[in-house]
């Protein structure tokens, strides 16, 4: 895991309760609190941290937290 990815993941975990105990490659579908509220929290995080407006389908298409982190503009 790169330092940038780890830092971004920790920041995301601090705002999205569903990810608090998750690993980077945990299937999102397996997390008990991965629901519509968690999707809103992810959208909110990306808006004020990365200035990116994610759509619902973009977030729901992600399978793991690592996929979510890849939506940040400067991580390939």
């Amino acid at each position: 895991m790169s330092d940038v990815t780890e830092k971004q993941f920790r920041a995301l975990q601090s705002e999205v309760d569903a990810l608090a105990e998750a690993t980077l490659d945990a299937p999102l579908a397996s997390l008990s609190q991965w629901d519509s509220l968690a999707v809103l929290l992810v959208i909110s995080h990306f808006e004020h941290v990365h200035h990116v407006y994610l759509s619902g389908p973009q977030v729901r298409a992600c399978l793991t937290p690592r996929d979510l982190i890849k939506l940040a503009p400067h991580v390939s």
């Binding site: 309760d17 609190q33 509220l37 999707v39 809103l40 909110s44 004020h48 759509s55 619902g56 729901r60």
Partner: protein, 358 residues
Amino acid sequence: MHSLINHFRIAGLSVSTGSVRRSFIADGQANGIPMAQLERVAKTIGLRDRMVSTPDVTALDLCEDATRRLLSEMNLDASSIDAIIFVTQTPDHSQPNNASLLHGRLGLSKSTLAFDLAQGCAGWVTGLHQAALLCAHGGAGRVLLCAGDTLSHLTNKNDRAADPLFGDAGSATIVERTGQPNPMHFIFGADGKGASSIIVPAGGARQPASELTRIETADTSGNLHHAENLHLDGAEIFNFSLREIPPAIQSVMQHGGYTVASTDALILHQANKFIVESVALKVGFAKDKAPAGIVEKFGNQSSASIPCALIDALGDALSQKPLKLAGCGFGVGLSWGAFAGEVGPLILAPIQPYPASP
């Protein structure tokens, strides 16, 4: 669109809510949802109580009650009203409009202008703009602006994403022509490509109501709804709110020469606490200047939420002195309307349920 209107004032406000209190927590427990899950949503989104109306009470009834109480409080004769603007998306009939029905109920003069505006959460600001135009440029001395909906009647009770959000309410606002400039700036916008984010698919001319439109289907989260129900895409609505609303507020404040420091309060459509706080934070308003808790008491009241917030959060101050306010209504359409101007002192009738408890 930017618009500046002078020579009008908001003279009075009132709101009547549905009479049945519903609790997000109690309803969820009754449906077997774990308490921890309910508390998580309640805390984050701000879902607590909401006031809904019984099926026989419509937005017309709620607005009539709000109007009668306000006219009494202001000691005004209904015959002094030159125009009625009725903002609603839940009218009694497709024809005639609610404004004509209210005109008849109040027994107004035949020289009254009466029309409806089919607007939702941005509707009070849109209606205020029209009322202001009539006062400033249209020959009206006094306009009755009614705004309200009974959206709880449109949600499916087994749709946990939509049903817990909405309360029912009707508002009445008296707008008057004045000799003073009293400038108010408005910004309006629309994004019709997002129309499907908030929609009742059936029941209009495009897809008339039928047995077929009442067949329930389940979404991926297990929520049930049919084509005559109100459908919401929460993620898209939130995205829209963050993307479009803060710039509209900043623009209207800039036109009016307002800063966050010089503005007494930011009054937003009370969609839910999470959206209100997120938008206010992005514009730079601290929580004490951007009331967000009204929705926890009444639910999302559509076009009645801004007048309800004005009374609930600022009523004491507004009844005594002018306040520099900015605000924005936003939602179905998608559409939005922002305003910046001085409001008050004005006469308020208290927020009350209708029908009143025996």
